[in-house]
Symmetry: C2
Subunit: 199 residues, 2 copies
């Protein structure tokens, strides 16, 4: 592997471990072992677990930006965009029932640790928040677009936390249907704004 | 201190540390130090951190049961009961913005650790769920009382997670008002069921 491939591999393995086990529960040594690198080679890339966390958050930011841009490009309407977001909860239900939402649980853990990176982790939420706000703005809801964006984000987080606790797929599907009904009530189908408008 | 007072003090200190720093981030040694006990005296009560966790969860169960029973006794109506529950988010907003919801964050952390006590922690959610379900049943909503209970619980969890991430009190108050409006729409004031009925 080239140096950049090795670095990428470390970040991918750490990202998975931080998500599945938690940041605090994942040791620097465990990441090195899972990547299968000598200590010297590993230290060449990262000196501390906090440096790895920074790289993981930066990568998640980049991946999230790309995902949201693709949704906006492919969806037929802002409503479909928002629906795509909400449907992550169904697509990723197995992981969410096992480990929670990757964003919400990281923010919660870093808040408790009063970690320097806690606001960077909140930046992941801000990406979704800004993107959802833009969709509601495109739907003609400029005045309360941010409140609507936070409301959708809030419901997705609530569903994720209870999905982890109760591991109940029927609950997830019922609440997604409820968010979709709420969404249509905000922005009725067939209304002039329910068509694609470039951002 | 008597032996039972010492034990109680250990559980209280651990409860606070698990909440404010996380279970994994709190060492057995840190709990002993904060309690100010010799190792011998400490081991007399607890041999492992997992034993302390069991005691913390048991105590939270007992305290939650007592709180819910008191609310049910004191509130003028089932709607007021549910409102009391929702208002924890405002009463405890400082702690929630700093450390999240004590129940949700514990469940999320223990799920990631695949900890033996994870279902016991979910038991805390179940206490709220069963109690909320009873309130909705008293309001004449037997048929979907459980779904309504989970919906309220879901929204409270979503608000808590975003409150921790964004530390925005205006958001908390807006979402609480929204839950209250939803609640009144479910169970209109002045309807025959909006009166006190003993459980």
């Amino acid at each position: 592997m080239s140096a950049s491939e090795t670095r990428q591999r470390i970040v991918d393995v750490a990202d998975q471990l931080f998500y599945e086990r938690g940041f605090e529960a994942t040791s620097f040594a465990r990441i090195a072992t899972d990547v299968g690198l000598s200590r010297g080679n590993f230290y060449y890339h990262f000196k501390t677990k906090d440096q790895i966390l920074d790289a993981v958050i930066a990568q998640r930011m980049e991946q999230t930006r790309a995902m949201l841009a693709a949704w906006e490009q492919d969806a037929a309407s802002p409503t479909d965009c928002i629906r795509n977001f909400v449907h992550i909860l169904i697509t990723n239900r197995a992981e969410i029932m096992a480990y929670g939402c990757p964003v919400g649980t990281l923010c919660d853990e870093l808040a408790k640790l009063d970690h320097l990176a806690k606001d960077d982790a909140t930046g992941l939420f801000s990406l979704f928040r800004d993107w959802l706000r833009r969709q509601f703005t495109r739907l003609g809801r400029e005045a309360d677009a941010d409140a609507l964006a936070l409301h959708v984000l809030m419901r997705s987080q609530g569903v994720a936390t209870l999905a982890t606790a109760f591991r109940d797929e029927v609950f997830i599907r019922r609440e997604i249907a409820s968010i979709e009904a709420w969404l249509l009530a905000q922005c009725p189908v067939g209304s002039p704004v329910h068509v694609y408008q470039p951002a």
